[in-house]
């Protein structure tokens, strides 16, 4: 248990401290959320219609940002070798890494998402649901993204490759979350999409650590 909490503390301080951490993710999120309305037209009616979707999509893109260093850093300096020999199974190591990643970048982004959506013209009533979707969807983004990061270990073009293999797997949570949000703003029942998003996140949290551990063992072998 002490080993687990020590590892979690290490991962969290690495994710929080190095390379800008949440600040970088927030800045990227703000930049994407600024560019999208410039590209799609600035009329308030049109913006209000797409605001929740824009806020949600920018979230998925920002989640990609810090994935490249998630495993690569420890792979290069040999820490991953040590971790794979240590008492904690590699599955738990991978899960802790993703959890720390989620706490350091996903949670701050979940706070920023409703602000961006309201600034773009979404009704404030949608803010609580957007926050909940961003928090829960962020878990799926972190764990599925971690899977992509671990698969790309040892490849020649990490960052771009992670985006290519991870974005198709981001499609279901993006669809479910955006569906729930647009149903809410249209006054329709939104629980269906939200529960599907929760189901996807649960499956990602439950299954992807095993795949990540297999991918790390493969890269280390």
């Amino acid at each position: 248990m002490r080993a687990l909490s020590a590892l979690f503390g290490r991962e969290l301080s690495l994710a929080w401290g190095r390379g800008g951490g949440p600040l970088l993710a927030l800045a990227f999120y703000a930049a994407v959320a600024t560019l999208l309305p410039l590209a799609s037209g600035r009329e308030p009616e049109r913006l209000a219609a797409i605001a929740p979707g824009v806020a949600w999509l920018a979230l998925a893109l920002s989640a990609l940002l810090s994935l490249e260093r998630l495993f690569e850093r420890d792979y290069e300096d040999g820490a991953l070798d040590l971790l794979s020999l240590g008492p904690i199974p590699l599955e738990a190591v991978a899960a802790i890494k993703c959890l720390a990643q989620w706490l350091a970048t996903g949670a701050p982004l979940a706070l920023a998402a409703p602000v961006a959506a309201i600034a773009l013209g979404a009704p404030p009533a949608a803010a609580p649901l957007l926050f909940a979707c961003a928090l829960i969807g962020g878990l799926a983004f972190a764990f599925v993204g971690g899977l992509g990061a671990s698969l790309a270990l040892g490849s020649r073009r990490g960052g771009l490759l992670i985006a290519v293999i991870v974005l198709p797997l981001f499609a279901p949570p993006v669809i479910f979350g955006a569906g729930a949000l647009s149903s809410l703003t249209a006054g329709l029942p939104w629980t269906g999409g939200f529960l599907l998003l929760c189901a996807y996140s649960t499956a990602a949290v439950g299954l992807s650590p095993f795949a990540m551990a297999a991918a790390c063992r493969n890269a280390l072998s």
């Binding site: 899977l147 698969l151 790309a152 270990l153 040892g154 490849s155 020649r156 073009r157 490759l161 290519v164 293999i165 974005l167 198709p168 797997l169 499609a171 279901p172 669809i175 992807s208 795949a211 297999a214 991918a215 493969n218 890269a219 072998s221």
Partner: protein
């Protein structure tokens, strides 16, 4: 282990088998597709879709094969991961570009059919989007394989990705039942009697389906054979360089 892969797991036996099987499947594919196309232009026009109904005979089998190829990719990846068998890894490697090609064919013909029938090339509904995601999964698989130098590691990493993407297959299959979609539901095997295609359309569709299947089988075997020869050539050239 499953009997057919177990029989073919021996590379020597596989090469002997595929040497004859690949051209035979190829000839079968040419015959079936030629016959299917011949019938395609002789079926009566649909009373609503007129001539465009003929696109179905190209489109529907391509969509079947797009999913079937991914299933083959998934099974080969699983066998390659569990048994660490080189031939299964080569089978997965050869299946991916074929599946991507069938997916592109299904998307392109579907959009050519959609324009006259639905009035639009593309809609973002569940069936179309999930097939597009299937294409992206194929592309991601190919990209991951191509960007890791060590062939064994690339194969295993790509196999893990292929298994993760397997979740998309049931989503595609049931997308027209779970969600309200512009795309119609199944009208072949699972459909109720009233929704099922009449035999005059169903027969050529099945002929085309079998033709596509043989074409896939033939090209798949050729692809695996080419991969076996490529690896042998690489080993030989390494030996020569070393010795």
């Amino acid at each position: 282990m499953i009997p057919v892969p177990a029989f073919l797991a021996n590379p020597q036996r596989f090469m002997v088998f595929s040497r004859w099987a690949a051209p035979m499947f190829g000839a079968l594919a040419v015959a079936l597709i030629a016959a299917g196309l011949w019938i395609t232009f002789r079926v009566p026009e649909d009373y609503q879709q007129h001539d465009t109904v003929r696109i179905m005979f190209i489109h529907v089998p391509a969509a079947w094969l797009a999913m079937f190829a991914y299933l083959c990719l998934g099974i080969a990846s699983l066998l390659g991961l569990v048994f660490r068998h080189a031939l299964a890894d080569m089978a997965a490697k050869a299946a991916a570009p074929l599946g991507a090609a069938f997916t592109v064919l299904a998307l392109a013909t579907g959009s050519l059919w959609g324009k006259p029938m639905w009035g639009t090339w593309w809609v973002w509904d569940a069936r179309l989007t999930s097939v597009l995601v299937l294409l992206l999964l194929y592309l991601g698989y190919l990209a991951l394989r191509a960007s890791i130098d060590d062939e064994t590691k690339a194969g295993r990493a790509a196999a893990i990705l292929a298994l993760a993407g397997l979740i998309n297959l049931p989503i595609i299959h049931y997308s027209v039942e779970w969600w309200n979609s512009l795309h119609q539901g199944s009208s072949t095997f699972e459909a109720d009697q009233g929704d099922r295609l009449p035999a005059v359309y169903l027969t050529p569709l099945l002929i085309m389906g079998l033709g596509y299947m043989s074409a896939f089988g033939s090209l798949w075997l050729v692809g695996i054979r080419a991969e076996v020869w490529r690896r042998r050539a690489r080993v030989l050239s390494l030996q020569q360089a070393g010795g």
